[in-house]
């Protein structure tokens, strides 16, 4: 068994303190002053800090990152990773051979098929038992069900906390969700880790609002104001000594960093050739931003592509959306690899559930969580691995049944985190991954 690494708690005495993920700079600033007084009580006060910075630093030196491609609404496993051609449930699309002998995926994914051996493992045996958008999103974004006394953090918040760097000038967690359908379900948040690990949420705008310095204030003015504020604040601290005030100062330090990261969201700075590769769709453009963000050191980026909920016309919908996913995902993985980033970046492609093998009267597929698929690519993953199996009609898992917790344990392990690492909320130990879950070793490098 791996040793347990005490949690890096984020207290002001330890690296990572002062990171904030408020959406807007001004609300961040305004909020911080008030928040610092109560933040630890509200957000972190319940978390006992067994912080040992050396462990945290050890983890963070690796610069691991995660991109989550969130297929909101539920993509069909039969039209992506687990086709069943020739069966009554199979639908009209054929399967095609991949670059991994004996492994076939939907013909809607020719680019991923050609490159499967390079980056990607397929998991075909998710049985998550929840076919409701809200509950399933919660489960697949947190890796466990909430309980009455504890609000768990989502994957992004945990990764932000574990892999974020205290000295980083970039955000720890950025989340895109442009479509309005299902957006609320995606807002699972940082739970007991506190708002410092909440994401910068981007909805319609590709660049965070209010990140830019006001035009009527010059950069020199802005820095002068900060120096004055720092002078006064330092004098205040000298006389009093207070973690809360330290928190306040660190938060202000963070503001300058966040402001300087605005350019990361601007794909106009990319060569036209690269932009063309990602293509003109918004999902493609957001994945290009995701690459820019992880390249700059952002540990967790979630790009949601909604909305896959094809109760009617499943095959027409998947013709559109899988074609886009196949192209964009393939370009993203290639781009990360060419930049030497894929070795350190895990790309997760998953939604809240899959879709029914049965085809309804509208040629649609409905919600289905009993036997569905996802993929893991890049960091820590054995390329070309296929784990688990569903039956010939895709109705049940027949090999390697796994749940959300198992997926999360595998994700943590892939990026060098111990899934059994514990936070302490009051006296209650809370491991990263749900207790009793297991790492799927077959897909790990």
């Amino acid at each position: 068994m791996m040793r347990k690494i005490p949690a890096f708690c984020g207290s002001p005495d330890h690296p990572g303190f002062g990171r904030s993920s408020e959406i807007h700079r001004r609300s961040f600033i305004a909020g911080t002053a008030a928040a610092t007084a109560t933040a630890f009580a509200a957000d972190m006060g319940g978390v006992d800090c067994f912080a040992q910075p050396s462990y945290a630093d050890e983890l963070k030196r690796d610069q691991k990152r995660v991109i989550l491609l969130w297929l909101a609404g539920g993509a069909s496993q039969l039209e992506t990773w687990d086709p069943k051609p020739g069966r009554a449930t199979g639908g009209p699309f054929r399967s095609i051979a991949t670059s991994v002998p004996g492994v076939r995926i939907s013909e809607l994914m020719p680019k991923m098929a050609a490159n499967l051996h390079r980056h990607t493992a397929i998991l075909r045996s998710l049985n998550t038992r929840n076919g409701d958008h809200g509950g399933a999103s919660e489960l697949m974004l947190r890796g466990r069900r909430d309980d009455a006394t504890l609000h768990y953090p989502d994957l992004g918040a945990m990764i932000a906390r574990e892999l974020g760097r205290a000295d980083s000038s970039v955000p720890d967690y950025v989340a895109f969700y442009s479509e309005t359908e299902g957006r609320r379900s995606s807002l699972q948040g940082p739970g007991f880790l506190g708002s410092r690990y909440a994401p910068i949420q981007l909805f319609e705008d590709p660049i965070p609002a209010d990140l830019r310095r006001l035009e009527e204030i010059t950069d020199v003015d802005h820095q002068d104001r900060e120096r004055l504020r720092r002078l006064l604040s330092d004098r205040f601290v000298r006389n009093r000594g207070s973690n809360t005030v330290n928190s306040h100062n660190t938060a202000y330090d963070r503001v300058r960093g966040l402001m300087s990261s605005e350019h990361l969201f601007d794909i106009e700075r990319e060569p036209q050739q690269v932009r063309d590769l990602y293509g003109p769709t918004r999902f493609g453009q957001q994945c290009l931003v995701a690459r820019r963000l992880v390249e700059a050191g952002v540990p967790f980026v979630r790009v949601a592509r909604a909305w896959w909920d094809s109760h009617g016309q499943n095959f027409e919908t998947h013709l559109e959306l899988v074609t886009e996913l196949d192209h964009v995902m393939n370009v993203l993985l290639d781009d990360l690899q060419q930049r030497g980033l894929l070795e350190h970046t895990l790309v997760i492609t998953v939604g809240e559930f899959g879709r029914t093998p049965q085809i309804n009267a509208s040629l649609g597929r409905d919600h289905f969580a009993s036997a569905w698929s996802c993929s893991l690519s890049g960091c820590g993953i054995k390329p070309g691995a296929v784990y688990g199996a569903s039956d010939p009609d895709g109705l049940t898992v027949v090999d390697g049944e796994m749940g959300a917790g198992d997926l999360f344990a595998t994700i943590f392990h892939a990026v060098g985190l111990d899934p059994e690492k514990e936070y302490h909320v009051g006296a209650r130990p809370v491991p990263l991954a749900d207790p009793g879950t297991r790492i799927i070793q077959d897909v790990l490098a």
């Binding site: 009209p92 769709t281 094809s310 016309q313 013709l319 309804n360 009267a361 040629l363 649609g364």
Partner: protein, 344 residues
């Protein structure tokens, strides 16, 4: 025999056959002056049904497709089928075996094939956005019709859903997902007219960010003057087929839209259109999670004159030569209705 000049306002439907199936029936063609149907299935096979007997005889053709059989046509003595497997197959009607297979007739999924009334050629349409003409008997390629855009305005692959051939075999109409229709001259492949039914294409830019709809059916009137176009109106929630069933009619040579039928009780796609042989009314069939058959009188500019709920989502329907029987195939069913008139 002259077609019965049924008065539209007196249309009556009587369900004659209702045959349950486990598969989804995607396409149908009928042998002339008979109750014998050829039906393309989601189980990749072509079936031969004879509805004349009390217990319909069902004969399966040899398995030769690798996907849904989306179109079937009878060209003289030849049977032609197409599918999502990109194949066009010419069959021997007697042995029910393939005689000639074109493995990659299109670069993408084939949506339909139709035989010209004179039996001289077959048109196939695919998501490569090309309509192809083939010799009706031998299957040799004759001509390609290119003009539909491969991508939607929103940068997603478009689809070429529907085609129809005029009764005199001189004109071909094709229609795509974005609501664009092109009428071509069969003889030389010239584009004659481009028409728009953009209301049938729903792009949701905010809530779900993908599309639904498209023109799903076309039919020339018996005199060749009118072109009927079927689909679905704008959709609020594109997770479902909840737009109103919609039919538009053009006097196509002048590009004038003469009729818009959208004010009806049914939701879903109009998958099939057929004019009564006399031209007096138009039948539209389709569905959402259930099915419908509607009838329109061209003298009545806005509303259907008769609506009938169908026992299944109808993927294809056809009228007989006298306009007094409808044969429909769809989700798990084959249905035959008798069409008659009653005194007003």
């Amino acid at each position: 025999m002259e077609p019965a000049a049924t008065t539209p306002s007196t249309i009556k439907l009587e369900l004659m056959k209702d045959i349950g199936r486990k598969d989804i029936l995607m396409s149908v063609a009928r042998f002339a002056k008979s109750d014998r149907l050829l039906v393309g299935s989601s189980d990749f096979r072509l079936y031969d049904f004879d509805l004349a007997s009390d217990k319909p005889i069902l004969l399966a053709h040899e398995a030769a497709h690798e996907s849904y059989v989306t179109g079937v046509a009878i060209a003289g003595s030849q049977i032609v089928t197409c599918g999502f497997d990109r194949r066009l197959i010419w069959w021997n009607a007697e042995t029910r075996k393939p005689e000639h297979t074109i493995a990659d007739a299109h670069q993408r999924f084939i949506r339909d094939c139709q035989a010209s009334p004179d039996g001289k050629f077959v048109v196939s349409i695919g998501d490569d956005m090309v309509a192809k003409l083939w010799h009706g008997q031998g299957g040799e390629p004759m001509r390609e019709l290119r003009g539909h855009e491969p991508m939607t305005p929103h940068h997603y692959p478009s689809m070429l859903y529907a085609c129809a051939i005029s009764p005199d075999s001189q004109h071909i109409a094709t229609a795509d997902k974005t609501g664009k229709i092109i009428v071509w001259r069969a003889g030389d492949g010239a584009q004659l007219v481009k028409l728009d039914c953009v209301e049938m294409y729903t792009w949701d830019p905010n809530q779900r960010r993908h599309s639904i709809g498209g023109v799903r059916s076309l039919a020339f009137s018996p005199d060749g003057k009118y072109l009927a176009v079927g689909g679905m109106g704008q959709v609020g929630n594109i997770d479902h087929l909840e737009g109103k069933a919609r039919v538009e009619i053009f006097e196509w040579q002048s590009s004038v839209k003469t009729h818009i039928y959208s004010d009806n009780e049914f939701k879903g796609l109009v998958q099939s259109l057929a004019f009564h042989p006399s031209g007096s009314w138009l039948m539209a069939a389709g569905g959402d999670n259930t099915g419908f058959v509607m009838f329109f009188d061209l003298k009545e500019p806005k509303k259907s004159i008769r609506d009938e709920k169908a026992p299944m989502h109808i993927h294809r329907a056809t009228l007989n030569e006298t306009g007094d029987a409808i044969y429909a195939v769809g989700h798990n069913k084959i249905v035959k209705w008798k069409v008659s008139s009653v005194p007003a």
